[in-house]
């Protein structure tokens, strides 16, 4: 009998989200297979567990650092264990928002203008002057967020110059480098990409309408705080363009098995690339499972197909 190991938890601020993702995928997998499905946290006992247990396949569902920065994936590779999802190298590209934006911009995709700076730049050059220049460049409102990390942790909407300093403090609490990004008003959509068999396809787009001003942490994981429309209320042309960009992001970043790309569609119908997640959330309010459901796919069967794919890849 094969044995699959779902990894979740870790030490990132997204630990709780990851644990919920892990439990959900593990439970769904158990309904789709009689093979053994185990769950484990990422801690000092993990390597020993992996060596002794030698799972047939690992499903990493870690969000944030270690899970999405590629480190754990590289460890799995070094242990010669098959795993679902992208390689460490690709995950690193996607996890670093400025790098991902640059790669997509080079591929011809619109992405909001941004400036990414470490704290040292503000300290050495004078925060007021630097922020003033950024404000002139990007205009207000703008978004401040950590360059690495997910679930909108540390992200703030800056509407006035007075909001700027505390937004920077909030972002630097999560990351060494903060990104200030042009605010694009429009419809927020998420497009999940799934590789099955020999084809890679975009699943129905999810339109996100948070009750709050921003699709923040609370809006993401508190039931009833966000309204979702699946498929998104987009024209066929725009929906097709969003799907094209999500597939392009998956390809340009070299991602594997599954990913989720977040876009804003502005009033003229142009989709703007925000980011791509190599380890999309799988909680009860997450977007990837909603897309799967809309496509008539079950989470368990999908995860099992990806597991089989990962094993076959070895």
């Amino acid at each position: 009998m094969s044995s699959y190991l779902v990894l979740s938890g870790g030490l990132s601020p997204e630990r709780d989200v990851s644990l919920r993702s892990g439990r959900r995928v593990a439970e769904a997998l158990r309904l789709s297979t009689d093979d053994e499905v185990r769950e484990a946290d990422v801690d000092l006992s993990l390597i020993d567990l992996l060596r002794k247990h030698r799972p047939s396949c690992v499903i990493p569902l870690l969000h944030g650092a270690a899970g999405e920065d590629g480190a754990l994936r590289d460890v799995l590779t070094s242990l010669d264990l098959p795993y679902v999802g992208s390689t460490g190298e690709s995950a690193r590209l996607a996890f670093d928002k400025p790098i991902a934006k640059t790669l997509l911009a080079r591929a011809g995709v619109a992405t909001p203008a941004y400036v990414a700076l470490p704290h040292a730049s503000f300290r050495e050059l004078g925060a007021a002057e630097v922020l003033s220049g950024i404000r002139d460049l990007l205009g207000l409102p703008l978004i401040v967020k950590p360059t690495k990390g997910g679930s909108a942790l540390g992200a703030s909407l800056v509407k006035s110059a007075e909001d700027f300093p505390s937004a920077m403090v909030g972002a630097f609490a999560y990351s060494e480098v903060a990104m200030m990004e042009q605010w694009i008003a429009g419809t927020e959509v998420a497009i999940s990409v799934l590789e099955t068999g020999d084809s890679t396809s975009a699943l129905p787009a999810v339109e996100i309408v948070p009750k709050a001003e921003m699709y923040d942490y609370n809006s993401r994981y508190t039931a009833g705080t966000t309204e979702f429309f699946v498929p998104a209320r987009l024209s066929d042309d725009i929906a097709a363009e969003c799907a094209r960009i999500a597939l392009l992001a998956h390809e340009v970043l070299g991602l594997r098995d599954w990913s989720r790309t977040d876009l804003i569609v502005d009033s003229s119908g142009t989709p703007w690339f925000l980011e791509t997640n190599a380890a999309p959330g799988m909680t009860e309010t997450s977007l990837f499972p909603q897309s799967l459901h809309a496509a008539g796919l079950s989470l368990g069967d999908t995860a099992l197909r990806l597991v089989q794919r990962a094993i076959a890849r070895k």
């Binding site: 925060a127 942790l153 609490a173």
Partner: protein, 416 residues
């Protein structure tokens, strides 16, 4: 930063790599588990059919008699009939509020106050007004002012909630003259005084402080608990209330839970009857004093200038004030990344105050871990000071309006 984000960070704090100065769990590992096993075994062998059966809504009469003996240490005297045993003193707090308060009633609390109480008062739609504290706890002048201000508006507070000994979260203790003064003010104004005393027996110096109720019984309801002195997992607390009130509390208790757990009550009762419980409390005191000392010594050695903290003479907590108006809530992600956790001060207010404060608990981690935690925390504060210096942030700029519901900014009770 929102409450759900804070809860997400506390999820990381439960990992062993993190030194958690955030939780409030008593160090029950210090109990002699063999003796406890013996106690439980004897109970089940000899009185199992009673322990596993429904009991009285007011609580086991034998335990109520024993509670008198325990309360004698804080000079509270009562009749066993005046005692209502509850599922932890948290339930007593809930019952008292349910019986006394209607929506819109004003409850006066310390600034800051115990988050579990704030949650109860909010749940019953009371208006909570914070009253300033100083190094000796609730400030009588501020209390009188609050009462007078309400009177000028034609209003009156229904209840004053106070933790006089080893306050959670402030770590300060009211002296006896102050207790008398506070009680006199409350009695003059006809405000019920709800005295919460879970830590009273856990003082580090001298005799346990005499409870406010020892000064005068009139207008005082006293809440006690075995959670900190024996075992929090058994969930046994109590209220001491005058006859008329007690009847209402019992009816309210019966409608809520029928009766407190007989098994838990009789376990405590058996423990009190057969084990050296005073010795156990003494060993808890010594253990917590050693940890308090580790915390205070490390804070003294490592904290950046401008940081201040209270010096608890008992209990579990010290209340720290950050330098230069730093925001403890905004700083929490940095702390968790550095593998140390605390509770931001905003969780202990209903009005958005407490941004520059944090509660540090020393009850659970071993002294070496506490020292390591403070070392990490000092680094976090220094890093945040640098960021604040760069961006000119400070007391004027805070992470939010503090409008979250109480309890959402603090960890669950089972966090270390």
């Amino acid at each position: 930063m929102q409450a759900s984000e804070i809860r997400a960070l506390f999820a990381v704090a439960s990992r062993p790599e993190v030194v958690s100065l955030a939780g409030g769990m008593p160090f029950v590992q210090a109990l002699n588990m063999d003796l406890m096993a013996e106690t439980v075994s004897k109970l089940l062998r000899e009185r199992g059919a009673v322990a596993l059966q429904y009991g009285s809504g007011q609580g086991d009469v034998g335990l109520r008699e024993q509670i008198l003996e325990v309360m004698a240490d804080v000079k509270v005297s009562a009749h066993p009939d005046d005692i209502v045993v509850t599922t932890g003193s948290q339930m007593a707090l809930d019952l008292v509020t349910r019986v006394f308060c209607d929506p819109g009633d004003v409850v006066l609390v310390e600034a800051p106050s115990y988050v579990g109480a704030l949650g109860v008062f909010r749940a019953y739609e009371c208006e909570v007004i914070h009253v300033a504290m100083d190094d000796e706890g609730l400030n009588p002048i501020a209390l009188q002012e609050a009462i007078s201000t309400l009177a000028a508006q034609g209003r009156k507070a229904k209840m004053l909630y106070t933790i006089p000994s080893f306050h959670n979260p402030a770590g300060v203790t009211q002296g006896q003259p102050r207790r008398a003064e506070i009680l006199a003010i409350a009695q003059r104004a006809g405000v019920l005084l709800l005295e919460d005393d879970p830590y009273g027996l856990l003082g580090f110096e001298g005799e346990p402080p005499a409870a406010i109720r020892s000064h005068d019984e009139e207008g005082v309801i006293y809440l006690g608990s075995f959670s900190k002195t024996i075992a929090s997992g058994l969930r046994v607390g109590w209220a001491v209330a005058p006859h008329g009130v007690r009847e209402k509390l019992v009816l309210a208790a019966e409608s809520a839970v029928l009766c407190p757990s007989n098994y838990s009550q009789l376990t405590i009762s058996e423990y009190l009857a057969t084990q050296p419980w005073r010795e156990q409390i003494k060993s808890y005191r010594e253990l917590y004093r050693e940890r308090r000392d580790a915390l205070l010594e490390s804070l003294e050695q490592l904290m950046p200038p401008g940081t201040t903290w209270t010096t608890p003479a008992g209990g579990f907590y010290s209340w720290l004030t950050l330098p230069n108006g730093l925001d403890a809530k905004a700083m929490l992600p940095r702390a968790v990344t550095a593998l140390v956790a605390y509770v931001p001060g905003t969780g202990f207010y209903v009005n958005g105050s407490g941004h520059e404060n944090m509660r540090l608990s020393y009850c659970y981690p071993e002294p070496d871990r506490i020292r390591e935690g403070v070392r990490r925390l000092a680094g976090v504060i220094e890093g945040e000071l640098e960021i604040a210096a760069t961006f000119g942030t400070g007391s004027a700029l805070h992470s939010d309006s503090g409008s979250d519901s109480p309890g959402s900014n603090v960890p669950a009770p089972n966090l270390q």
